[in-house]
Amino acid sequence: MIRDDLQSLTAWTTQQLVAFLGSVSAARDETAAMQSAAEGVAIAADAEVGAVIVDGVVRSCIGFGRHRVPADALLAACRDSAATVEIPGAGRAEVLAAELGRNRPGHLLTARVGAPFAAAERGMINAMADVLGLALDVLSALESERAARQLSEQHTRQVTELLRTLREQRQLTLSRFSRIQHLIADRDCPLEQVLDEITATAGELVECDVSVLRVGPDSVSTYGLDDAAAAAVRSGGDELGPRAERCGIPVVDNDVAVGSGFACFGEPSIRSALAVPVLLRGSETIGHLLLASRHPDHRFTTLEEALATSLAEHAALAVQDAQTVDALRKALSDAQHRASHDPLTGLANRATFLSALESALAHQESQESAPRGDAETSSVEIGDQVDGAPGLDDGESGESGESGESGESGESGESGESGEETTESSDGRRTRSPRGAATTCVLYIDLDYFKQINDTHGHLVGDQLLVVTASRLRHGVREGDVVARLGGDEFAVLLTSVADEQQAQAIAQRLYLAVTRPAQLHGESVWPSASFGVAAAVPDDTPISVITRADLALYEAKRRGRGQVAVYRAGMGESAA
C-alpha cells in the first residue's frame, strides 16, 4: 500500500510552494519571473539546477555555473521523462520537467543529483509550473498595458503642456494624474476608489459642473451632483454617453436643448456636455466618462476633450489591472488548491493528509500536558452523531471487540469503559468527556472488489463510485476532520479529537454503513463494499507509524473476509507478515 513513499511526504512541499508563489508573483516582468522561477524551483526541490524553457529556448537557467548550459540535453529532457543530464562537477542528475500550461508551450525544469524525485515533489513542481504559466500570461498582459500606459502618459504630457500655456494648471494636473496612477498601481486599492478619483479629477481639472463615470453595468461614479440627482443618474442617465459608447469616439454637444435627455441631472439645466468612451485594450467599450456644464456660455474645447480621453484611458487601465490582479489571485489560489487536493474527488491528497496528521499528533502531544476546552466540545459532538446514526450493527461491533481482546487487554478494557461513558452521555451534554482525553485516530479505507466494478461497469462508473464514496465520507465526519484520497481506491480519515478508540470504531461503523449503501451510477446499480482499518495514536507516534497500524488493521479486515471494520491490535503486524 502506501507505506513505501510515506517518508518523503511532509509539510515541506506545501511550504515550498507557498514560497515559490510569493517570489514569482512579485516579479516585475517576464524575465524576472522566469529567473525567479528557475531559482525558486531549484531551492524548493533542494536541487542543483532550475530552468525555464519557452518555445524551445532556455529562457533562464541556474546551476551550471560558468559552464555552457546544455540546452539540447535540457530540451530532450522535456520530451523524455526518463532523461538525465550531466551537471559538470556534480554528476548525472535526474530531471523533472513540468509543462507550463495551455497558453504557453514550455517547461519548468529542475535537475538533482543523487536523490530521485518523490511523487509529492512531482505534484509540487507541476503546481509551480502551472503558477509560472499563469504568472507569465498575466505579466505579458500587464506589459502590453504598460505600453498603453506610456502612450497615455505621453498624451497626458501633451495635454499638460497645452494646459500650462492656457491655464497655468500644470502642477495640479501632473499631481492629479500621478495620484491616479499610484492608486492604479496599488493593488490593494479597491477599483471603486480609483474610479471615484478619476471622476473627481475630471470634474476639477476641466472645471465643469458635473462628471459621471460609468463602467460596466453596475459601476457609476459621480461628481458635482446632489444625492437625489446622483441616484437618478445612476438608474437612468443621458443619451450622450451611450452615443459615445456606440460610436467609440468622443461626442460633444455644446448646445444642449433645455428639457432634453439631461433632465435627471437637476437644476440649473445642463447646457453643454462631452462624453468619451472607456475602451478596454483600446477596442472593447465598457463604459463612458461624461462631463457637463450648467453654465450657458461654457463650450467644451478640443483640449478638454483630450483631457477627458486621457482620464477615460486611465479608467480602462484601472479596470484591466483589477481584472488581471483578480485573475492572478484566483489562479494562485486554484493552483494551491490543486496542489493539495485530489482532482477527481476534491478530497485532500496524501501530502495534505500527512501534514494534517502531523499537526494533529503534535497538538495532541501538547494537549496532553495542557488540556484545552475545545477538545471537550468536539468529543461531545461526536457522541451525538454516533447516537443519532442509524442502527449500529451489533455483530460487527462484537467482531471488532474480539480483535481488541487479542491485543493489550488492560488498555482496551479501559478504553471500553470510557467508550460506554461516551454513549451514555448524549443526554448530559458537555459534562462527560474527561478533560484532555481527546485522541487522534486514523481510519484507513479500501473499497472491496473495486477492480471488478471497474471491469464490469467501466471506468466511468468506477470513477463515479470514488466520487460518491468521497462525498459519503465527507458528509459523515465533523468539521475539522480530514478525509483524503490516498490513491486508487484507498481513502483515509483523520479524526482529530475523539474520546477514545471505541468511539473511533463507532464512527468507522457509521461511515461503513454510509459508504456501502447501494448507489445508482450512470444508470447502473452498484452495491459497494469496503474494509476499514482503525488505529488510535499513542504517545511518540509519527504519521507513518499511525497510518501503518491503520493499514495493518485494514489488512486484518480484508483477511477476515472484507466488508467490515477492524481495530488495530498488537500482533496484527506479525499475522500480516
Partner: protein
C-alpha cells in the same frame, strides 16, 4: 602529486594582545613558526592569510600588523567575529590567523558592498569577480573520486541583507560544481556593526575595511577539500503556521502576535518578556526551524519588537509556511559538532587534513555555555593535530548539494588536505 608533498601547507596562530597591530603580527609570527617547524617554509610562500578578529580590534590596524610580516601583494581576508576559535589556546582568542602557503594552492579574492540593498546582486558581483579570469574547467575542480578541488569561502556582514539571497547570487555564477562555505561576521553580540577586511593581489593596492559587504576567496587546491555541516537542534511542540511576515520580521504565528505565541509556548521566564537583552539571551537557545528535505533549517531569533509584538529573525521565513520552535541540549549540540567534523574529514578520503576552518554559530556557543571549550577541544580531537582556526558567526554558509546554502545555529567545518 602525492598527498605527502610539501607544495602546500597551512599554519595557524593566535594572539590575545590588546594592541591590534601587535596582536596581528604576533599571530602571523606564531603561524610562521609553526609552518617552519613543520615544513621549513616561510613568509615568501604565503598565498593567503585569513584573520578572524574580535570586534574590539580595529581591522585597519590589524591589516597594518599583518603586513609587517607579509608582502603587500599577499591576499588577506578577514572579519570581526562574535568570538574566535584557535587551537593555540584551546579557547577564545582575540585574534586568530590561518596562513595558506605553497604552490599547491592558488587563490583569488574579491569583494563587493551593497549587501543590505541588493543581497543577491552583491553575491553575484563577488562571484563574477572571482571567476572573471577564466571559465571553470570541470576537470581540474574535482579529483578522480569526485571530491572538490576548489571551494569559495565567503565572509559577509552578518547584520546586513538576506544571506540566503546572497548565496543564491553567488550560485548564479558558481553553480553546482563549486562548493561554498563561510560565515557571517559578528560584533561580539553588540549587534551594531560588523567589518570585513580584504587586501593584496586582485583586491587593489590597499587593504580595505568594509561594512555591508561580502568578501570572497576562491581557493583551489591540488588536494581534496572536505566540508561538514550539522546543527544538533530538535523540534519542540506543535508546528506553527507563519501567518504574517515582513522581510525577516515575523508578525504572527497561528494568527496570534508572534512574540506572544513564542513566549507562551516556551513558557519564557518573566525577564525575557520585558527586557530586550534578556529576551535575546533566551532566544539564543530557542531558534525557529523550517522543514527541509534532509534536515530542518534553523533560523536564529535575534530579537523582538515589544511594541509591535513581532519576532526578528536573522533571515526571512516564508509566509504561510510551517515552522517549529527548536531546542537543543549540550549533548545534541556536541554530537552535531563531532558529526560535522567527521563528515569533513571523511571527505578527504583517508588523507590527513592540512588545515581546518570552523564556522560555528554564536547561538550554539550560548547553548553550550561552559561547555563551549569542550566543543573546541572535541573539534581539535576529531580533525587531528592540524592547524585550526574558526570563529563564532552570525550565520553560516555551506553549500555542497542543492541550492540552499545559508544556515543558522550550525557548525560548518572546512578541511583542506
Amino acid at each position: 602529486m602525492g598527498w605527502d608533498d610539501t607544495t602546500r601547507w597551512c599554519a595557524a596562530g593566535a594572539s590575545v594582545l590588546g594592541d591590534s597591530a601587535g596582536a596581528a603580527e604576533e599571530a602571523v609570527r606564531r603561524a610562521l613558526a609553526q609552518a617552519t617547524g613543520d615544513t621549513g617554509v616561510g613568509a615568501d610562500q604565503v598565498v593567503l592569510a585569513v584573520a578572524f578578529v574580535s570586534a574590539a580590534h580595529d581591522l585597519a590596524d590589524v591589516a597594518t600588523g599583518l603586513r609587517r610580516l607579509l608582502a603587500a601583494d599577499v591576499p588577506v581576508v578577514g572579519c570581526t567575529t562574535a568570538g574566535e576559535i584557535a587551537e593555540a589556546t584551546g579557547r577564545d582568542s582575540d585574534l586568530a590567523v590561518m596562513l595558506f602557503g605553497g604552490s599547491g594552492f592558488s587563490v583569488r579574492t574579491a569583494w563587493a558592498t551593497g549587501l543590505g540593498e541588493d543581497s543577491a546582486g552583491t553575491g553575484q558581483r563577488v562571484a563574477e569577480l572571482l571567476y572573471a579570469d577564466q571559465d571553470v574547467d570541470p576537470g581540474v575542480l574535482r579529483d578522480e573520486d569526485g571530491g572538490p578541488r576548489e571551494v569559495v569561502m565567503l565572509l559577509s556582514d552578518g547584520l546586513a541583507g538576506d544571506q540566503q539571497a546572497m548565496v543564491t547570487g553567488v550560485y548564479r555564477v558558481t553553480g553546482a560544481p563549486i562548493p561554498l562555505v563561510g560565515g557571517c561576521a559578528g560584533d561580539d553580540l553588540v549587534m551594531s556593526a560588523t567589518y570585513q577586511l580584504i587586501g593584496g593581489a586582485g583586491a587593489g593596492p590597499t587593504d580595505r575595511v568594509l561594512r555591508d559587504s561580502v568578501v570572497g576567496v576562491r581557493l583551489r587546491s591540488d588536494g581534496p577539500i572536505g566540508i561538514g555541516v550539522r546543527h544538533g537542534w530538535t523540534r519542540v511542540g506543535s508546528p506553527l503556521v507563519v501567518t504574517a511576515t515582513e522581510g525577516s520580521s515575523v508578525g504572527s504565528l497561528d494568527g496570534r502576535p508572534a512574540l506572544d505565541a513564542y513566549l507562551q509556548l516556551l513558557d519564557a521566564p518573566e525577564q525575557a518578556r520585558t527586557d530586550p537583552a534578556a529576551f535575546t539571551r533566551f532566544a539564543l537557545n530557542h531558534p525557529l526551524g523550517i522543514a527541509g528535505r534532509s534536515q530542518d533549517l534553523v533560523r536564529f531569533v535575534t530579537g523582538a519588537d515589544f511594541e509591535a509584538r513581532t519576532l526578528e529573525l536573522v533571515a526571512p521565513v516564508p509566509q504561510g509556511g510551517l515552522t517549529w520552535i527548536m531546542t537543543g541540549d549540550v549533548d545534541s549540540v556536541l554530537s552535531a559538532s563531532d558529526e560535522a567534523c567527521r563528515l569533513a574529514v571523511e571527505a578527504l578520503e583517508g588523507r590527513p587534513a592540512r588545515g581546518v576552518i570552523a564556522f560555528d554559530c554564536i547561538a550554539r556557543r550560548a547553548a553550550l555555555g561552559e561547555d563551549s571549550d569542550e566543543e573546541i577541544r572535541r573539534i581539535g580531537e576529531r580533525v587531528g593535530d592540524v592547524p585550526l582556526i574558526g570563529f563564532y558567526t552570525y550565520g553560516e554558509i555551506a553549500r555542497t548539494r542543492g541550492m540552499g546554502g545559508f544556515h543558522n545555529q550550525t557548525l560548518v567545518v572546512l578541511a583542506v588536505a
